[in-house]
């Protein structure tokens, strides 16, 4: 997935595969391909992305965008949300709103932006603001296809919200040609904890 790029006549494709320390496929892993020749960046076009709020969750859980991208946060629930981020890569706050009334937010600084909702504390999401327009994200089967890559040499790295190490420790060098290439990682993930939703239990009775 390379949104916002013009397709070139001789583009390559890279199939990335990610597994955890127990051999299980890892979804929501961000794959970033940095060309050594930055002229490839000229192919990047401005793009707009969306992070929805559905059933009091951010959808998708992880969104990857190229630096300089605007992201909209439509609220598809029948309840208002209050979206914010404290992250150094982007601090912002969209106070209580419903529907599509919140203005898009520009993500112009690279890094990880952690999203939250001040009404529903269990809601968490991530926007990875990439320093390259060539990226992808693994599906739950642990695979991602990076298409339309201009041929050349790349440094390819990986990021995941639960990764123990820094993404720079995952860098692999790959030469992309007009044939399908493969790249794979095994990464150590920390146990994932989420703030639980309130249970509403009241089982004391009245006797």
């Amino acid at each position: 997935m390379l949104a916002g790029l013009a397709v070139t006549a001789s583009a390559g494709e890279l199939l990335a595969s990610v597994r955890d320390q127990k051999g299980r496929p890892v979804g929501d892993a961000v794959i970033l391909a940095m060309p050594l020749d930055r002229k490839a960046f000229d192919l990047a076009r401005p793009a707009r992305h969306v992070v929805d709020q559905v059933n009091k969750e951010f959808v998708p859980y992880v969104r990857v965008v190229f630096a300089g991208t605007s992201v909209s946060f439509p609220n598809k629930d029948n309840i208002r949300h209050h979206v914010y981020s404290f992250s150094p890569a982007k601090k912002f706050e969209l106070a209580l709103y419903s529907g599509v009334s919140a203005p898009p937010v520009l993500f112009d600084k690279t890094g990880v932006v952690v999203l939250g909702c001040n009404i529903h504390d269990w809601m968490i999401g991530y926007i990875y603001v990439a320093d390259t327009p060539f990226f992808g994200k693994t599906e739950k089967e642990g695979q991602a296809a990076l298409e339309n890559l201009p041929p050349g040499d790349y440094q390819v790295r990986l990021w995941h919200p639960d990764m123990e190490k820094d993404d720079q420790a995952t860098v692999q060098r790959v030469t992309v040609t007009d044939k399908l290439g493969n790249i794979a990682w095994t990464v150590a993930l920390k146990p994932s904890f989420r703030i639980p939703r309130p249970t509403g239990a009241n089982n004391s009775g009245y006797r």
Partner: protein, 296 residues
């Protein structure tokens, strides 16, 4: 079973309350519904001395509708109603249906999940028992505060004032109150939660309660001397009496919530209550509850 007339009345009240609440809510306010089904076991229903204690299990079902209006800065105001029914396996007199209304204001002191919060809430419940002597109202006023320390740890404190009034206390005998089921108490409690993994939360709580307690037992001089009211308690047997005493109760809870989906969970809770009432009238009881909760 609950008498037909009081059941029908409570059902009618419930429907009226539901219609009123649904139609009265401001635009943009959010309705949420939760339902709970479970089973409880209490090894000392009458809060009695060991030789008089009797236990029983009860099925419990509850449906609640809550409307919340979210304000700026993470504050919210919520109101709603809850209907709860309990059905005991052996002690029919304790079967009850309760209709409760509640109102609460919650304020968050900052942005984000780790911001501390406080809450003031009130609730009133109309209680209808098969044993009419227990019918009455339960009013609770509560102040709570809490702070989440991380995704895994959460702390809370609660101050509560509780008043239970019997709607039809038996006629007073000269020099002796028969209004044993009316009670007033205050309590302070603390609770800590720990997320053992993504789908399981453990909680530990302790509560210290001071005020009236009701103990049902055979005639004992020591209980009689310190009781403020006495009435024969037909719900728990023959020749047993409900005594209203003043005492302190330490309540300890251990609970586990297993999340089955984002909107439902299975709760298992164990509670131990140790009461020290005036005149060295001391009681212990244990409760176990297993329930399923679904939110809509």
């Amino acid at each position: 079973m609950i008498p037909l007339r009081s059941s029908a009345l409570l059902l009618l009240q419930t429907c009226c309350l539901a219609i009123m609440l649904i139609s009265a809510g401001p635009a943009g306010a959010h309705w949420s519904f939760d339902t709970e089904l479970g089973v409880n076991y209490d090894n000392n229903l009458g809060n009695a001395r060991a030789e008089d204690s009797v236990g029983d299990r009860a099925l419990i079902a509850s449906v609640a509708a809550t409307q919340s209006e979210y304000l700026e800065h993470g504050d919210s105001i919520s109101w709603g109603g809850r209907v709860t029914g309990e059905n005991y396996a052996n002690f029919d007199g304790l079967n009850n249906l309760a209709l409760a209304a509640s109102l609460s204001y919650r304020s968050k002191l900052g942005l984000g999940p780790l911001a501390p919060w406080w809450r003031a809430s009130w609730s009133s419940a109309a209680l209808g028992f098969h044993d009419h002597a227990r019918n009455g109202w339960l009013h609770q006023a509560e102040l709570g505060a809490g702070k989440r320390l991380s995704e895994r740890y959460n702390l809370g404190l609660t101050l509560r004032l509780e008043q239970r009034t019997a709607t039809s206390p038996q006629q007073q005998a000269p020099g002796l109150s028969l209004d044993a089921f009316s009670q007033l108490s205050k309590s302070i409690g603390a609770n800590a939660e720990y997320a053992a993994d993504r789908d399981m939360v453990l909680s530990l709580g302790a509560q210290l309660r001071h005020g009236d307690i009701v103990s049902t037992s055979h005639r004992y001089r020591q209980v009689f001397l310190y009781s403020k009211a006495i009435v024969e308690d037909y719900a728990l047997g023959t020749d047993v009496y409900a005594y209203r005493l003043t005492g302190n109760t330490l309540i300890m809870n251990v609970a586990t919530a297993f999340f089955l989906s984002p909107d439902s969970c299975l709760n298992i809770a164990v509670q131990r209550m140790l009461t020290h009432a005036d005149g060295s009238n001391n009681y212990a009881k244990n409760k176990v509850a297993v329930s399923w909760v679904g939110n809509f």
